[in-house]
């Protein structure tokens, strides 16, 4: 039986005890104000009993901890499975495995005709009904991590600068020097435009979960469900969805992967400059 029912009955019992005391004890023993106070406690516990329907998860920690910062859980919210193709969460002694499926749709409405647009909307409507198990479809827009790209551009600039310096020293082939200078200007322009604007990327994916008493049980169930979802998505859109593995999953789970650190520091610098100006 659900633990919540015991919480309800517990609070109701306390409420009833206070009420019995308020009503049962004669006025000669307990004066009326004290009886009203007992009634007040009874009604408070009655309201708390009702609130436990949806708020048992915070009420019990509040009663136990008596602090302003209530700890509902201090463990990691999930862990990556050993096969690195799912995240695993423990809840009420059961394992929940969640598999993420990439849906590679790269069509834009601007390049669709009227009939194609209607068909696309129909496909989306059909997509949400492919599974009888709860499945979550997500369109995620995140800031691209351009660190590696910017580093590549910087390396290219360094190489071009060295090449230019060497040519200047030897002092021959002016035409080639001009070509290298042109290349250098191009890389610098690309670097400037890349680092001055944020680049966003939109991706689509689905996630599906399964429970199990053992990690491998939950995992194999989730993978089985994912395979069924993949065939449904593939048949609907004519694309080849795939299970997301490794650290790529973090992009869909952790908030810091939505906004890479380099972007944050750039943003903070810009804001500080604006404030100074």
């Amino acid at each position: 039986m659900d633990q919540k029912i015991f919480v309800l009955l517990g609070f109701l019992a306390i409420s009833f005890i206070f009420l019995s005391a308020a009503l049962g004890l004669p006025s000669s023993i307990i004066p009326a104000p004290i009886r009203i106070l007992l009634l007040l406690f009874s009604l408070i516990f009655d309201v708390v009993a009702f609130a436990s329907r949806r708020y048992a998860y915070i009420m019990l920690p509040i009663l136990r901890q008596h602090k302003k910062k209530i700890v509902l859980s201090d463990s990691e919210p999930y862990s990556l499975s050993t096969s690195e193709d799912a995240i695993i969460k423990m809840e009420k002694g059961e394992y929940i495995a969640t598999v993420y499926i990439s849906i590679p749709i790269y069509r834009s409405a601007t390049e669709m005709g009227e009939a194609e647009k209607i068909e696309f909307s129909r496909q989306v409507s059909k997509l949400v009904g492919i599974s009888s198990d709860p499945i979550r479809f997500t369109a995620e827009m995140y800031m691209m991590n351009k660190d590696a790209y910017i580093q590549t551009l910087r390396d290219a600039i360094n190489i071009a600068e060295t090449e230019e310096a060497q040519m200047m020293q030897t002092g021959k082939d002016a035409e080639r020097i001009e070509v290298v200078r042109g290349k250098l200007a191009m890389w610098r322009n690309i670097l400037q435009s890349s680092s001055s604007a944020q680049s966003m990327e939109l991706v689509s994916y689905a996630s599906i979960s399964a429970y199990g008493s053992k990690e491998y049980e939950a995992l194999s169930m989730a993978q089985q469900k994912a395979r069924e979802a993949i065939s449904g998505i593939g048949a609907t859109f004519g694309v080849t969805p795939s299970i997301i593995t490794g650290k790529e999953i973090l992009k869909f789970v952790e908030p810091e992967y939505l906004i890479p650190f380099s972007t944050v520091s750039e943003e903070i610098e810009e804001k500080t400059e604006e404030e100074v100006i």
Binding site: L12, L19, L23, S27, L39, L40, S42, L43, D46, V47, A49, F50, A51, R53, R54, Y55, I58, I62, K68, K69, I70, S73, D74, E76, Y78, I87, K89, A109, M112, E114, K117, I118, F120, S121, S125, K126, V128, G129, S131, D133, P134, I135, R136, F137, T138, A139, E140, M141, Y142, M143, I208, S209, A210, Y211, P255, E256, L258, I259, V264, I268
Partner: protein, 277 residues
Amino acid sequence: MDETDIVYISLSLIIILIVFGTASSFGKGWSIIAVLLAFLALILILALNWIDFVIVPMFTKMFGMSFQAAKDYTIQKGQDSIIKNVNGLYYATGFVTGNLFSYTFKEEDIEADVEGKMMTAPENWERAVMSLGFPFKFHVIAVGKDVQKIRDEIEGKRSYQEFQLSQALQSEKASSETAITEIKRKISIYQARLDRISAGEKPIAAIMYFETTAVGVSEKAAEDALALQIKQLQIAMSSLNLHIVRVVGRELYTLFKFNFGLPLTYSDLASEFSQEG
């Protein structure tokens, strides 16, 4: 209101009814106070049943209570955002409902109108997404429902409307033209739903919501940036005619938990959500 809600409300009201029935035993003058207290408790219980997402965050804000939902994740005292601290940077995540149902499925009366909406939907979506310069996710949690049960339910509703129509047409007092048109419109909506099920479309239940993350050097900065992003999201999505409401309270915690594991069945999913949005 589901069966569990009815059980909770009935059990809680027993105490209040006892107080109303025995208030006179508190003596002259005090009985009025007892009735008033019971009346207040009754109002509070009813309010908790329908607007708990207003009352509970108000309570936690008043007492300055925050909740640690998992390691590094904190639900703020207003219960409208969840903050992750990563190396001194704060990532605030908030949720807003974004129910597309009203957009695509509610107004099924005129087939051509639906087609028109389906045609403009991809373009409107793209335009809205392109106008946003911050990370966000749009989630659709879908679960297939029992086809036969839904079919029986719709047939029952259609039969009732047909009965209403025949009564309206046969009644001696001429029913207004508007009332008859309204009944006919409802019949055609139910028929359209039955036709869609007959054509192989699966009835589904779906929860749709946006999740957005903002970053800041302090909790306050991150929360302010998040509030701004949510406003921008509301403006951008206004072209899609979405019902957008910021999620607060227990539903925020539920949606946060969905990032690491989805519920298994439709009833599990439905029990998590009630009035909000």
